[in-house]
């Protein structure tokens, strides 16, 4: 079994998703069956094969260095669940 309780806790933590015990159990089962299933890729010989990240064959387009963005802070904060004094607000962080 590739995914155990520890692993699921670790990746849930990395993903910032809280799981209760029941959910952990379910995901352990799901993820293990999915990982077993994708295991078949090991049958494929990929020696000397370049990984493909993006299908596009064109070159990365670049923009000129012009600052012409006109969003106001009101617009940017409009959808924020909590904003104060022109800032996004989140629970206090102690570094």
């Amino acid at each position: 079994m590739k995914i155990d309780k520890n692993t699921i806790n670790k990746i849930a933590r990395l993903s910032r998703i809280k799981l209760d015990d029941k959910e952990s159990e379910d995901y352990i089962k799901d993820l293990n069956s999915i990982l077993d299933w994708v295991e078949q890729l090991n049958e494929v010989n990929t020696e000397n094969v370049e990984p493909l990240s993006n299908i596009s064959s064109s070159i990365l387009p670049k923009r000129e260095d012009v600052s012409n963005d006109t969003n106001s802070s009101e617009e940017i904060l409009e959808n924020a669940p909590d904003n104060l004094e022109g800032f996004f607000a989140v629970p206090k962080v102690v570094e």
Partner: protein
């Protein structure tokens, strides 16, 4: 139900046989009659009426003036909230308009509403939406069927004639499979043909917007309207967009169709093999050369896809954290608590499953074994198609391994659900254009779809083959 085509409607509007108001009121009426299908996440009659008012005061000529279009609720729109069918985008009102919806607005179309989808486009039955299932309009009484997914709302909207066309997105089959299930036409163009700007991302290297319509001609008109280069999307292609509709040509004489042997899969229902054969026969009669081809890595496409798509999704969905927009949990004793509770409560089960698997395959120690391996197999799959297209002009396959299935049938086994995409995923991985057209029925009189795949940016050939098959079937 006699469905008017987009082509015919444009004529009728032009000759003043019908007014924009009359036309849209007809659609509004049907939308209200079909509320039980749960096609729309957002629908407001008032909003539609306002758009009609505005267009009536607008004297400029526009290509799609007054045409009712439904928008998958993954496209950000200024005039309507955008949810991606997720609780996590609760109350999100974009201050911007996606590239594609802006193009449609510029052409004068009317947005009838935002259609339901699988949450963040992750699913094949439109049953992972926070806003409930969409019901396939072809369902019989007491036996609700799934419309397919993820763009099930858009496919259903066209099938129930609630609009003359709809936008969708296709990451692994999310346009083609629901088109097949709902008996409509659905095209996913070449990766890069339509800008992704303003569409909530699922898997950036695979996501591509496209069109649902009643027929191939309509699809060709609508695709031309939404295609084109966008400098705000670095993967957008700088290619000339032909007038697909004007150039439509159903004469396929002398063309070669590729028939991939790997698409004959054990357990595929007889009827599906049958319509595939029927389609080949039709083409043969039209003077098309039949070429048996091999796409040897086909069977690895699904596992490849189910590594790459979740990996990208796990990162793309990290921005939904309760800070800038959308839902924030009430349990926020610390920043981490806020993240973990917001995302636990804001995302649904399938989305969480994919985020977790995506996180795992990218994590230290597993990256090479899963993600890098999948990228390499993806290269081989793309190579398969490149080689095949040296010998043929287009490829014909079934769209999906089944007709529409009963709602909730496959919910508990993720892999069984993933198998729905078996015929659509390979072309997604290779970034190729693909269309699904209705072609025949199964024993329950449910529509089945044929998929036509083309070379990169050869949408014209795809449309030509599709219109030819469509006309022969009619």
């Amino acid at each position: 139900m006699s469905k008017s085509s987009l082509k015919q409607t444009l004529k009728d509007l032009d000759t003043k046989k019908i007014s924009i108001r009359e036309l849209n009121q007809d659609y509004l009426k049907r939308i209200k009659e079909n509320e039980n299908l749960n096609v729309f996440i957002y629908f407001s009659e008032e909003n539609v009426l306002k758009q009609i008012d505005n267009l009536e005061n607008d004297n400029s000529a526009k290509k799609l003036k007054g045409i009712p279009i439904a928008i998958k609720d993954l496209f950000c729109t200024k005039s309507m909230p955008t949810t991606a069918a997720s609780k996590i985008l609760e109350n999100f009102h974009p201050t911007y308009e996606s590239f594609i919806t802006q193009k449609l607005l510029d052409e004068g179309s009317i947005f009838v509403g935002k259609t339901n989808l699988d949450e963040f486009a992750m699913g094949s039955a439109t049953n992972t939406s926070f806003f409930g299932n969409t019901i396939n309009p072809l369902s019989k009484e007491n036996e609700p069927l799934a419309p397919g997914g993820s763009s099930g709302g858009s496919a259903a909207a066209v099938a129930a004639d609630l609009c003359l066309g709809a936008t969708g997105t296709d990451t692994g089959g999310s346009i083609r499979q629901p088109a097949s299930f709902c008996g409509v036409v659905g095209i996913k163009p070449t990766y890069g043909l339509c800008s992704r700007w303003g569409i909530a991302a699922f898997a950036s290297s695979l996501d591509q917007a496209g069109i649902f319509s009643h027929n191939v001609e309509d699809a060709s008109i609508l695709l031309q309207s939404i295609a084109g280069f966008d400098q705000r999307d670095s993967t957008s292609a700088k290619v000339d967009i032909p007038n697909y509709f004007e150039n439509l040509d159903d004469d396929l004489n002398g063309k070669t169709v590729g028939i991939p042997k790997e698409y004959s899969i054990d357990g595929t229902p007889m009827e599906i093999s049958q319509i595939w054969e029927d389609a080949i026969k039709v083409l043969e009669k039209k003077g098309v050369k039949i070429k048996n081809i091999s796409l040897p890595h086909t069977k690895y496409a699904l596992p490849t896809y189910y590594i790459i798509a979740p990996a990208e999704a796990s990162s793309n969905l990290a921005r939904y954290d309760g800070v800038k927009y959308g839902f924030r949990s009430d349990e926020i004793d610390s920043l981490d608590e806020m993240y973990e509770n917001t995302r636990a409560q804001g995302f649904g089960r399938e989305v969480k499953r994919r985020i977790l698997i995506g996180t795992y395959v990218l994590s230290a120690g597993y990256y090479d074994a899963y993600y890098l391996k999948a990228q390499k197999v993806r290269k081989l799959i793309a190579n398969d198609f490149n080689n095949a297209f040296k010998e043929c002009d287009f490829i014909v396959t079934p769209t999906a391994p089944s007709a529409a299935f009963p709602l909730n049938e496959k919910q508990n086994d993720p892999i069984k659900m993933y198998l729905n995409d078996v015929f659509t995923v390979p072309a997604s991985l290779a970034g190729l254009p693909g269309i699904s057209i209705p072609f025949g029925k199964d024993k329950n009189n449910l529509p089945l779809g044929i998929q036509i795949l083309g070379k990169h940016f050869d949408e014209q050939q795809v449309f030509n083959a599709a219109v030819s098959l469509e006309r022969s079937y009619e």
